[in-house]
């Protein structure tokens, strides 16, 4: 930047730039407001018709115009629970290995490789789950199949966040445990775990939020049948998958019901993500303060 260029910089160009930047930031608010307004407006017809029954009934019958979302809400939660149950132990194990047990030269390549799992698009996981994994494990569309695919997809996120949380463990605590003669595992449970507990919960919840919102991979392997059952091998359905399957051909009331489902899903995932962010940030602030 030359001194000669500074002469004659008009003040209104500076202010214009500020307004431009402010406007750009404001776009976020505008888009979210539009989403909220248009979608709740379109969701109203079915809620007026079904009332609270929308959330408590399982019958979803297009010909009679009865729309009960309970089956889908159940399915969303159930597949997410299966996914978390499978992903969390593995993610924690990997995160602990990478931060505490792996030789230094292995750390970066290992992290890079695991992050590749996050890059694979969800539709590719769905294709693979449908045509390769399902038949190989003897599974067809079911809660279990969807849960396994979701678990694979959320593992990199939980691993990466857990890694960050674990790495904030103060070295003094770890060294103190080791100095007293603790094995590595004892050091982990005595020094790392109590410190990271809260942050790890946050990481798990972010993974949960992601699992609930995942649509495409689940659609191909979930079985597409409303089924409130504890049997994981039964075919099931969930909020995002029914929307993906039925929206294209839906009539207005049906569309309204699907949009109401979308709003419900939106609110649930937002709530989970916000709680998770709050937990993770509180953890970060705590460790920064030490």
């Amino acid at each position: 930047m030359q001194l000669s260029e500074l002469r004659g910089s008009p003040q209104h160009a500076d202010r214009a730039f500020r307004w431009l930047a402010t406007g750009a930031a404001g776009v976020v608010l505008v888009v979210l407001a539009l989403i909220a307004i248009t979608m709740t407006d379109r969701a109203r017809p079915v809620l007026e018709r079904m009332g609270l029954g929308f959330f408590t009934e399982t019958t979803w019958s297009v010909p009679t115009g009865t729309f009960g979302a309970l089956g889908f809400i159940y399915g969303t939660l159930y597949t997410a629970v299966i996914a978390i149950a499978l992903a969390v132990p593995v993610s924690f194990g990997v995160a602990l290995f990478v931060t505490q047990a792996a030789p230094r030269w292995l750390r970066r390549p290992l992290v890079y490789t695991i992050d590749l799992l996050a890059v694979v698009p969800s539709v590719v996981f769905g294709l693979w789950g449908l045509l390769v994994m399902g038949p190989a494990l003897g599974l067809h569309g079911s809660y279990a199949t969807a849960g396994i695919i979701l678990a694979i997809m959320i593992t990199p996120i939980i691993t990466s966040l857990s890694r960050e949380v674990i790495e904030t463990t103060p070295t003094t605590d770890k060294e103190a445990a080791l100095a007293l003669g603790a094995t590595r595992w004892e050091m982990i449970s005595a020094a790392v775990w109590p410190h990271s507990r809260a942050g790890l919960v946050g990481a798990v919840m972010l993974g949960l939020g992601r699992a609930m919102g995942e649509t495409i991979a689940a659609t191909l392997v979930i079985g597409n049948t409303v089924h409130v059952t504890a049997n994981p091998l039964a075919p099931g359905y969930s909020m995002p998958t029914v929307i993906a399957n039925e929206f294209g051909e839906a009539e207005p009331l049906h569309k309204s019901a699907l949009i109401a489902l979308a709003v419900t899903l939106f609110l649930i995932t937002i709530a989970v993500n916000l709680v998770a962010s709050w937990i993770v940030q509180r953890q970060a602030r705590r460790s920064a303060g030490r």
């Binding site: 067809h140 597409n224 039964a234 294209g248 051909e249």
Partner: protein, 345 residues
Amino acid sequence: MKRLATIRLGLAMAALLAPAGCKKKEGGATLNGSGATFQKAAQEIAIDAFARADAGKGITVNYAGGGSGKGRKEFADGVVDFACTDAPYKAEEAATVKGGEFFYIPNVLGAITVSYRLDGVDKLQLSAATIAKIFQRAIKKWDDPAIAADNPGVTLPGVDIVVARRSDGSGTTENFTRFLKLAAPDAWTLGSGSTVAWPGDTQAGNGNNGVAQVVKSTNGAIGYVDLSDAAENKLRYAAVKNQSGKFVAPDAASVTAAGDGIAVDDKLLFSALDAKGDAAYPITAQSWCMLYAKQADPAKGKAVKAYFKYLLTDGQALLPQINFAPIPKALQEKALAQLEKVQVP
């Protein structure tokens, strides 16, 4: 200096996007259609051949499939130029069609097979009542006495039956369930429609191919799939008992036999289900394509008439290759006459 660079960058991007912006095709027209997956293969093979024929010069046809329900919906909304459906509009639905009067043009006859995968069993016969009970989950195992009664001399394994059906609104479902209502009124209780209240422990697939996929990958699975897709996916299918009491396997001959002599109304609506005749395959379904009687756009109007004419003439000869049957001659003439009535501005 940065500002100048930014301006230059902006102009370059605008130049890049501009040709990608507005480019209307010269001459010719693009036709968009959607609807029944039952006849998707028939549409596609015709579209493919039409593109290479003289009649199809400059015309691009896209058929998106998506199910009869979707096709009827999009046609009613005016989102597509034509749509294909296995079942006509119900009275209340018909009232919602924008764009005025429209014609049903029948273009294919096809079999709905009862496809299955049961390792060790190559030939299977089923009566309508047994089929009804299987799909309602009243019969849950392959060695059930009802199935054995239909198949004397065949050893049936004690495998669980996995029922596959459609998850989307489907004309194939409508015709299949209507057949069961006609042929097994005492056994079948789920009624008929583009979707019915299937029992919870059934597998659902998207489109005819989705159901075929489930049947193909699961031992013990049974599902209803149109013959064309079943053959393409190399599935086995059962011979079904018709009104004359004969077990008939679905193929071009038995489908054509079912189409012989059926009564057609002046809207060209009819049903080939549960047809009479010894050689007729009882679950023969028909499918129509719909277009507006008064076309709004001259280029599209000409194009859609040309395409439909092709479907009804040269297109018919392509059908046996993909295991469909052409419509009977008399019906073909009536359909062409109906097509002539379409007005293009």
